[in-house]
Structures are given as structure tokens and as C-alpha cells.
Amino acid sequence: MSTEDTIKYQPAKADYEGKQEYNIIVYAENRIGLLNRIAIIFSKRKINIESLNTSPSEIEGIHRFNIVITESYEVVRKLARQIEKQVEVLKVYFNTADEIIWQELALYKVSTDEIAEKVTVERLLRQYGASAVVIRKDYTVFAVTGHREETDSLVKALEPYELIEFVRSARVAIIKDSASFHEKLKEFEAFEPGEELVENEFLDKGEKIFTM
């Protein structure tokens, strides 16, 4: 998905039938085999995971998964419930691109000679906000963080100048409208979860029901 799509605002209506990009965030216990347990929820339904990042969260022992897929609201909602149902999953959030801030990290390895010789390369790198991670006699590694389109276009721009190697990370994302997960965790650790823990998606329908 390009940055352009991200910028276009697409409200995630509950009855939205078409597919769009969704960002799924999963908080889970750090346990062997859980990645597989989550991954098969997608593969069982023949859904391709476009990007998957898993790393320790701010809370010790709890990992945060960031999964990107393109599907309809209905499918994503059901997937999220199936994931949350897993014993070692604490919480699942899913959001459309406009509801999150996201970044990917890209590394570019280029010949040091090329940069030293060609002023344009240096200008190019500055233009993309790249920072040098390693500078050696033979090669230099630059890092850029940004959206897919930004990291992609630098690849294109560097192609004439001997781009030796390129790699891009999975996406990491932060939900614009989110509360502290620490608070939620306290609830989880309590024996009797309070009402706040329950996101009341069923209750939201209240208004619409009594039209018999």
C-alpha cells in the first residue's frame, strides 16, 4: 500500500464491505509456539500476512505483534476475536491506516566510493533524511524510517549508484486514539476483571435495536 492511500481518509464503517489495509496489534505472553498459533488463524482462512513484526513491549514478558493484512472489516473483526480467544493473548486491536501512526525502517548499503565521488548521492540522502549507520572504506550503510513509499523511492533513486544491499523491516505502529496498556494489564492481573476491560461492541448497537 502506498502513502497516497494512507493519506486519503477512509472511514472504517462497521458495514464497510470492501477490502482495505488493516493494522492488527496483539499483546501476548512471550511464549514458544504462540507465533504459530496466531499465524495459523490467518493461514486457515487463506489470508496472507503482508507484514509481521513481533518484539517485546514496554512491559516485561509481554510481546507486541504488529500484523498488516488487506481484508474487509467483517473478516478482520472475526480474525481479531479468534486471536484474542487464544489463551496467551491479552488483547487485540485492529485499525485502519488512518487511525494509526506507522513507520518502517529501511537499511541501504552503498559503495563508499560512489558517495564520495558523487555529490548527488549525498544530496539525495539528505533529502530523504537518511542517517549513516556504518561508514567503512568499502561501503556505507544508511538508515531511513518512513512509510513504504518513501523507503521505496529512495531505492529507486539509489539504483544508479550501486545499491549493494537493501532491507526493510516490518511495520511498527501506534494507535492514535489509545490509552495506556499498563492500566489494562492491571485489570488482567486482577482475579475479577472489571467492566472497563470489556470493549462494549455489542452494547454499541443499543440505539438501533428498538425499531420493531
Binding site: 470489556v198 455489542f202 448497537k205
Partner: protein
């Protein structure tokens, strides 16, 4: 890493039953844990990688009964039968490799039918993991999609805590199968174990939510405004042990109630508000009137496609209330207008308080009208056939007359299963044991063995087709050895009947590989020292059934039924429930 040294030490290690801690092997810790969880019966099969556990079991014969099955699949189906009739967690032992892979069908069956199981599999030594060692399989990854939870133990220290978690997860919330894979070194490992503490909380796992009264209020409002409310109930009522709460609810609100085959028996067959079976081979009225009710109240059921038929023509006119403990089921197949997420043991009494007393006489009369049509066109010819050929239905009618609805009926999968579910009379809950979601042929015989251990005072009748019986006949050996008093009733139509019925109706009668021959079942049973008889004419049926049921001990009766009888009514696949056919 464990060495042979430990193996030698095992023999010396005796379970010390000190008050707080005990010294012993991982295997002993496991068995002590099982006893602490109230386990008394285990279904299993030994093998190389689980030998230390079996070695320890040798000393626990006074506390733990081990039923040696003839195949691990039989073991897990037996544990399922046990869990279904007893309401307790079924326990299975199997060895690594083929032992563990043979559990997969049963795990899938238990997963889809929410049956609480704890399966213990042996695994090769931890240092051999990933080396393609003898009888090594990646059991955890193979079983991940078909277990509620699974875990591999490589260090005995983990055994008590993991076992406690396993039992808690298996039986709480929406129950399901759990598998623990224990490497041989952990089974042998000598250690000091703390006192066994049962688990009652896992921070990442919420078996049931705190019930929000707002949902219940919304549901009650809909029910109170309804003119034609209709209740669909499933196994959730039984799993939640909420049969009494359920009965009180429907009686106060006066709502006709129909069941999924997994929910059958939650209220007695003869209850005036019990209007029958849902789904593909369910009753006429419940299917047709699903598309005429104004409020549909689904309780502990999951709108399986065999229940709903064509989904876009299913109950579109109705407001849907869905009570379920599993939030992933609400809105999964049928959109709920009100989702009441919670344990029905808690939500039903709240709902009962808020609903008005009502009768809905005219609405109930509609169900009776449809029922009369079904009786005339389908039920009477099936239960009281005029032709020479015996029908499955008349066999069931005779069983009802002999047992009066108090027997436990275990079925396999196919035509006989649908006939049994349709016509068997049940007075009590936990009396119908069948493979619902997975439709596992071969389930019946082993499940009946477990069902008997789960309800030793009940008459257990396993109704099985000639096809399904030939999938797991080896369990006759288990019946022989342990004397499980199972009444085996083979309804033999010399066809794989359900597939044949579909081929007749939807594939131009092209009977492709459904013509199945059978061995001499009577001789087969007798080879296992099980009393047996065969009936091929109606005149002998009643006496033969009475002989079977009154016989002390296990018994096999083969009844030859009509070859090409079909099960009706039927909602053809892809059709709406209102398009149900009576013939």
C-alpha cells in the same frame, strides 16, 4: 540433560506424600497432580517415550484406573465419551510419534464440540528434539490448530504448574482439549516438587466476562415485545450446567425451543416447549418457523451451517439475541442484534427475572400444526413401517419403549445418527453423545466405552452404522478386557447410507463406492467373547432388543434395516431452512 543414571534412580524414587513438598520423578509429580485434580480414570496406550509415566503408574493402581485401549484414537474418543456423560475432564495418555498423531482426529472432534480433555503425550529426550529421533514428531505444532492450548515440558519443575493450568483451561470458559507434551528426561527427572495448587487465574485468559446487565435488559425488552419468539439451544446449556436455569427461563417466557444435536437432552424430549431438532435433518416446524419468528434467541449454540442452511436466507425477518460464553461466536455466522456475552448459568437467571410471563399459545400451535404434518408424512411411516423392511426409526422406537428415555445413547456418524437424534427419547441431560461438529465416523464405539465409565449406573447404547463400526472395531478388545458394559447396536443397511442418500438425491443415483460389505459382526463379537445376535425380521426385533438391554455385560446386536431408506425431512445443502423437504 538426563542420563541413564536417572533411569536407575527412578526405580528407587518413591512418592513421598509429605504435607507440603514431595521428592520424586516428574512422572510421579504428574500422577500426583492428576489425583489432586480428581482424576480416577485414564484412557491410554503406552510406548517408548511415555514409559517413565507408565512405570510410575504401576504404583498408583489403587488410585488411578487405566483403560488400555486398542488404538490412541479409541483412547481419545473414549475420553470424550467420559467427559460428555460425566461433566469432568477426560484424560488420555499416548506416546510420542504415531501415538500422538493418532490423537489428532479426537482432538479436532473435541475442539469443535467443546469437550474438556487433558491429553498427555510422551516425547523424545529434550536433547534429541529436532534430530528426527525415533518416534519423534512435532506434536505441539501438529496439534496447535486442534487444541485450546498446548505446551511442551522439558523440565520436570514445570509439571505441576502446567498440569494445573491445563485442567483450568480445559474445563473453564468454553471447554476444549488441551495437550501437554512431556519429554522423557522430564518424566525421569528427580526433583523436589511443591504442593500441588489448582489454577484459577491466568492473566491472559478470561474464561468468562463479568455480565453486563445492559445486554440482558436489551434482550429482555426484545423478548417482551415479541409475538413469535423462538429459542434455539445448543450444548452451551449443558456445558454451563444451566439446564435448570434454561428450563425456568423458557417456562416463564413460554417460548418454543428447538435444539441442535449437541444440545439435545438439556430439557426432556417430552417437555411441552421442546419443539424438536434444528437443521438439515431436523424437524419440520423448527426449520420452517425459523424464517417466521420475530425474535430468535440463540443460547449456547454457534449457528453451524448444518443448522442454518443458506445463511443469507436465514431468519432475516427476526431480531437475533445470541447468548454465548465465547465472544468469537457472537456475530460470527449470524449477526446478533443483541449479543449477551457471558456464562448462561449467570445470564439466564438475569434474563428470567426481566421477562414477562407469557404463553404464546397461537405461536406454539403453529409448531404443533407443522409437527402433525411431519408425523403424518414422515414420522409414522418411519416408526411404524408397513413394508417388510425394518427401518432405523422403528428400532429407536423400540429402544424408547424399553428404556423409557433413561438410557445414554452414543451414536456414530451418518444416517443412523440423524435417526437416533431425531427419534431417541431423553429424560436426562448428558445422555446424548455424538460427534456433532466434526462428524467423525468411528467415534461411536470408543466413545460409548468412555460414556459408560463416565456414567456407570446408566444403560449405555452405542448405535452405529455398518460403515462407522468398521472404522474402530478394534475397541471391542477394550470392551472384552475391561468388561465395559456397552450395548452395541449396529444398524446395517449394507451401504454408507448418508453418502448414498446424497448420491441418490443430488448425484443422479450414481452410487460411487458406497456399497460396503461387512464381516459377520456376530462372529466378530464372539471372537472377542462378547455376546451377540443378529435380527433380520421384525418379528424378532423387540425380543432381541430386550435381550440386549437386559443382558448383564456387553452385547452386540446387528439389525438389518432397509437398504435404501432415506432420512427425511431434509434441508438440501445450499437451501434455506424454509425449503425443507419432507420427501
Amino acid at each position: 540433560m538426563e542420563t541413564a543414571q536417572d533411569t536407575i534412580q527412578t526405580a528407587e524414587a518413591k512418592a513421598e506424600t509429605s504435607t507440603k513438598t514431595f521428592k520424586g520423578t516428574g512422572s510421579q509429580a504428574l500422577l500426583n497432580g492428576l489425583i489432586s485434580e480428581g482424576v480416577h480414570t485414564i484412557f491410554g496406550y503406552p510406548g517408548g517415550a511415555i514409559m517413565p509415566i507408565y512405570d510410575a503408574l504401576y504404583d498408583y493402581a489403587d488410585k488411578l484406573t487405566h483403560i488400555l485401549v486398542r488404538h490412541e484414537q479409541g483412547g481419545i474418543h473414549a475420553a470424550q465419551g467420559f467427559a460428555r456423560t460425566s461433566g469432568q475432564v477426560g484424560v488420555v495418555f499416548a506416546t510420542s510419534g504415531p501415538g500422538a498423531t493418532n490423537l489428532v482426529t479426537g482432538l479436532a472432534d473435541a475442539q469443535i464440540d467443546s469437550t474438556p480433555l487433558v491429553c498427555i503425550t510422551g516425547q523424545v529426550f529434550a536433547h534429541l528434539l529436532g534430530t528426527d529421533a525415533f518416534q519423534e514428531t512435532d506434536v505441539i505444532n501438529i496439534t496447535t490448530p486442534v487444541t485450546k492450548w498446548n505446551y511442551q515440558i522439558t523440565d520436570a519443575k514445570e509439571i505441576p504448574e502446567v498440569l494445573a493450568k491445563a485442567f483450568y483451561i480445559a474445563k473453564s470458559g468454553r471447554p476444549g482439549p488441551v495437550l501437554i507434551d512431556i519429554t522423557k528426561n522430564a518424566q525421569l527427572q528427580l526433583d523436589e516438587f511443591p504442593e500441588y495448587i489448582k489454577c484459577n487465574h491466568i492473566r491472559s485468559y478470561r474464561p468468562k466476562p463479568k455480565v453486563r446487565i445492559e445486554y440482558v435488559e436489551q434482550a429482555a425488552k426484545l423478548i417482551n415485545e415479541a409475538k413469535k419468539p423462538f429459542v434455539l439451544f445448543g450444548q452451551g446449556v449443558i456445558l454451563g450446567k444451566a439446564e435448570a436455569e434454561f428450563k425456568t427461563f423458557i417456562e416463564k417466557a413460554g417460548i418454543p425451543s428447538a435444539w441442535t444435536i449437541m444440545g439435545e437432552g438439556a430439557i426432556p424430549t417430552t417437555h411441552p416447549l421442546n419443539v424438536g431438532m434444528l437443521g438439515m435433518h431436523g424437524n419440520y416446524g423448527p426449520n420452517v418457523l425459523t424464517n417466521e419468528c420475530d425474535v430468535l434467541i440463540a443460547i449456547g449454540m454457534r449457528f453451524d451451517d448444518r443448522v442454518t442452511g443458506r445463511l443469507d436466507k436465514y431468519a432475516k425477518q427476526a431480531k437475533v439475541i445470541h447468548l454465548d460464553i465465547d465472544p468469537a461466536e457472537i456475530d460470527k455466522n449470524v449477526k446478533a442484534d443483541v449479543g449477551v456475552w457471558g456464562d448462561c448459568k449467570e445470564t439466564l437467571p438475569l434474563l428470567t427475572n426481566l421477562v414477562n410471563e407469557s404463553k404464546h399459545e397461537d405461536w406454539l400451535a403453529l409448531f404443533r400444526d407443522y409437527n402433525q404434518q411431519e408425523i403424518d408424512q414422515v414420522i409414522t411411516p418411519e416408526l411404524y413401517p408397513q413394508g417388510d423392511e425394518m427401518t432405523m426409526g422403528e428400532v429407536l422406537r423400540n429402544i424408547n419403549e424399553i428404556c423409557g428415555g433413561d438410557a445414554i445413547i452414543v451414536t456414530d456418524v451418518g444416517q443412523h445418527q440423524m435417526v437416533a437424534c431425531r427419534y431417541a427419547k431423553f429424560n436426562n441431560t448428558r445422555s446424548n453423545v455424538t460427534s456433532g461438529g466434526l462428524g467423525t465416523m468411528g467415534f461411536g464405539l470408543p466413545a460409548a466405552i468412555g460414556a459408560k465409565y463416565g456414567a456407570p449406573d446408566k444403560t449405555v447404547i452405542a448405535i452405529i452404522g455398518d460403515g462407522g463400526f468398521q472404522m474402530t472395531p478394534q475397541e471391542l478388545g477394550t470392551i472384552m478386557q475391561f468388561g465395559a458394559e456397552v450395548k452395541i447396536l449396529i444398524l446395517n443397511n449394507r451401504f454408507l447410507g448418508m453418502v448414498r442418500q446424497w448420491q441418490q438425491l443430488f448425484h443422479d443415483k450414481r452410487y460411487s463406492f458406497v456399497n460396503i460389505t461387512s464381516p459377520d459382526f456376530v462372529a466378530l463379537a464372539k471372537a472377542y467373547y462378547i455376546e451377540a445376535d443378529k435380527v433380520d425380521e421384525r418379528a424378532n426385533l423387540r425380543t432381541a432388543l430386550e435381550t440386549m438391554i437386559n443382558h448383564k455385560g456387553s452385547y452386540l446386536l446387528e439389525v438389518m434395516v432397509g437398504r435404501e431408506n432415506n432420512v427425511f425431512p431434509m434441508v438440501p445443502q445450499g437451501c434455506s431452512v424454509s425449503e425443507i423437504r419432507l420427501k
